[in-house]
């Protein structure tokens, strides 16, 4: 028997005899699916609905993404990354530029695995970035906790 998915409000078939499968009722499946996406797709997925947005923003998903291509993931770095703002911020601030700056294509399938050294360097650069945002927060209009502050927008290439 084939399970059929229904879009909200588009029910055409008699539901009495069929079990409804609605993906949003199964958050763990949503997580498993979104875990396989690359960064850009995760961003797109976050625009689908509130549930997907909260799942896509979950830092553990981004941690998985960051370490997907690093072998092995460096030990002990998690508390530092969390303290500096989390894996999603790390990815957006630094790791996304890794793909753009080099000649490697940015889709997940073609991305070459990057080394533990590159990760360490990225982490250091992330730290400098967080520090600069700390400075901005004191001098600029946004005060307070730098973890919740939105990422500073700078014009980049």
């Amino acid at each position: 028997m084939v399970e059929e998915r229904y879009q909200e409000g588009a029910l055409e078939i008699n539901e009495k005899k069929r079990t409804k499968f609605f993906i949003n009722d199964h958050e763990d499946i949503v997580v498993k699916i979104l875990k396989r996406l690359d960064a850009r797709s995760l961003g797109v997925a976050a625009c689908v609905c509130r549930l997907w947005c909260s799942v896509a923003r979950n830092d553990s998903l981004w941690e998985h993404l960051c370490f997907r291509h690093v072998s092995p993931p460096p030990s002990g770095s998690r508390p530092v990354v969390i303290a500096l703002g989390g894996y999603r911020r790390l990815y957006m601030a630094v790791l996304s530029r890794l793909g753009r700056a080099s000649t490697i294509v940015t889709t997940a399938a073609a991305a070459a695995p990057w080394t533990s050294d590159e990760f360490q360097l990225s982490l250091s650069l992330f730290c400098v970035d967080c520090y600069e945002r700390l400075n901005d927060g004191v001098d600029g209009t946004n005060g307070g906790d730098n973890v919740v502050k939105p990422h500073r927008r700078r014009r980049r290439r």
Partner: protein
């Protein structure tokens, strides 16, 4: 403005195309062929300043248009936007550029020999010539800065005028933008940090003395690396030296507080001390409060050259400072300096060197895309040019010396070189791939690393340690 290969061929008949991005080679070739007219190019170049790729066209004289061979894979859309940025230079501009360089050299010679009236008329001519040259990029821009510096030297005397009069706050802003716009300072910080990290291995109490704190951009990365080192982080003390703030704000303390906050968030025990001094030679070792049990690192990013006063007497500032550094017995002293010879006594030699060096640097800055970082970085470099060219005596602080000279000087003062190691080299290479345009290169030279543009080194990093029992050696000789 030609935007397609077909259009270019129409321009071929009256255009001499040159490479506006490879300033340094071009200036060099002009300087060595002073009296000769420039050789006519047998093949013409269009340079894509975006990627510094050279698109070579052969034999413009052929009847049918030649399609430029583009040595990169780019999409059609990208090619359209690239074409908008290609600079096509007419024959007259090329001539004007060459004449500018010749006139700059002549003017510098006049200044050296004291013929100020001729120098003044040359300045006027050059400023007239500048209107015929593209001053947005290439030789026009660099020449403009040198002309300004020369005229300041002639008209305002050598007290420096307002070149070094920028406030500490302004200098910090410019420095920050220079940090963002190009990789020289990042290279300096990361290489020094790697050496310091390795030197601190196994120590639980460590103390870093920074000769020029600025915004403290070097230290977050070291704090994070110490947080993650196997065996846990040590107690880190940082002593930052910087100019006093005029308006009562304690800027050193503010930077210290931010660094402390960062260190606290990654669980590194941290203590900060600020030493406000307008000149490095005013700092005395007791102000640093070094504890004999801790491992000390001294970090000097482009500061030591400021101590090279014009008189090389026995107790010159550089010797004083180097001897008290030795007295601290640091585990490591990291020295990063510009790789240039801007401290020669003869003005013309200095001027020539500076023209070549800063042309190369402006070349490399063309690759930067972000504004206002690029513009402010240029102002930062412009101030350096002004100081090298238009100041003398104690006002001239940008007394850059090449690595070879520093090696001799530091060895003679009781230091021995530490090799920087392959980790530092790897990290520097990775940094370049992350951030920069192609054209930058890292080289290793007897244990020191240098970063350059198209194999002209522009900045060199080295690490040193005090030779034990040097004082015994000195007293017995």
């Amino acid at each position: 403005m030609g935007n397609s290969p077909a259009d270019f061929s129409q321009l071929a008949s009256d255009a001499i195309l040159y490479n506006p991005s490879d300033l340094a080679c071009w200036v060099d070739s002009l300087l060595t062929e002073f009296a000769e007219p420039p050789p006519t190019c047998s093949s013409d170049f269009i340079v894509d300043p975006v990627n510094n790729q050279t698109v070579v066209n052969s034999a413009w004289t052929a009847a049918e248009p030649h399609t430029p061979q583009v040595h990169q894979n780019i999409t059609y859309d990208e090619q359209q936007s690239l074409d908008n940025q290609l600079t096509v230079v007419t024959a007259m501009e090329e001539d004007s550029g060459i004449r500018l360089v010749h006139m700059l050299m002549t003017c510098a010679e006049c200044v050296q020999s004291g013929d100020l009236s001729l120098a003044t008329s040359l300045i006027d001519d050059m400023q007239g010539l500048l209107t015929h040259v593209n001053t947005v990029c290439g030789i026009g821009k660099v020449a403009g800065h040198f002309i300004d510096a020369l005229s300041r030297r002639i008209f305002q005397g050598m007290g420096g005028g307002s070149v070094n009069g920028g406030s500490a706050f302004e200098n910090e802003i410019l420095y920050h933008h220079f940090y963002e716009a190009c990789p020289y300072l990042k290279f300096a910080h990361f290489t020094a940090n790697q050496a310091i990290l390795e030197a601190f291995d196994g120590h639980d109490c460590v103390h870093v003395v920074d000769f020029n704190l600025m915004h403290g951009l070097q230290w977050p990365a070291l704090i994070q690396a110490l947080a993650l080192r196997p065996g846990g982080p040590p107690l880190l003390r940082l002593t930052g030296i910087g100019p006093p703030s005029p308006d009562g704000r304690d800027s050193l303390r503010e930077i210290g507080l931010r660094l402390a906050e960062l260190a606290r968030s990654v669980n590194v025990r941290f203590a900060f001390r600020g030493v406000a001094a307008s000149r490095l030679e005013d700092v005395k070792p007791w102000m640093l409060q070094v504890n004999p049990k801790e491992a000390v690192a001294v970090n000097s990013i482009m500061q030591l050259h400021r101590l090279l006063g014009c008189e090389q007497t026995r107790d010159s500032p550089i010797d004083t400072v180097l001897s008290w550094i030795r007295g601290l017995n640091p585990k490591i002293m990291t020295v990063v300096e510009q790789e240039a010879n801007h401290n020669q006594p003869g003005f013309l030699d200095r001027f020539t060197e500076a023209l070549y060096y800063y042309s190369t640097m402006f070349d490399s800055l063309e690759a930067c895309r972000i504004q206002p970082e690029k513009a402010l970085a240029e102002i930062y470099i412009q101030r350096e040019i002004g100081n090298v060219v238009s100041c003398e005596g104690s006002a001239r602080v940008e007394r850059h010396e090449p690595l070879a000279k520093w090696r001799r000087r530091l060895s003679g003062a009781g230091f021995r070189a530490l090799r920087l190691g392959s980790n530092a080299f790897k990290q520097a290479s990775m940094l370049l791939t992350l951030f920069s345009a192609e054209g930058y290169s890292v080289e290793e030279n007897e244990g020191c690393l240098s970063l350059g543009w198209h194999s002209s080194p522009l900045i060199a990093a080295s690490a040193w340690q005090a030779v034990p029992a040097w004082d015994n050696h000195m007293s017995s000789s």
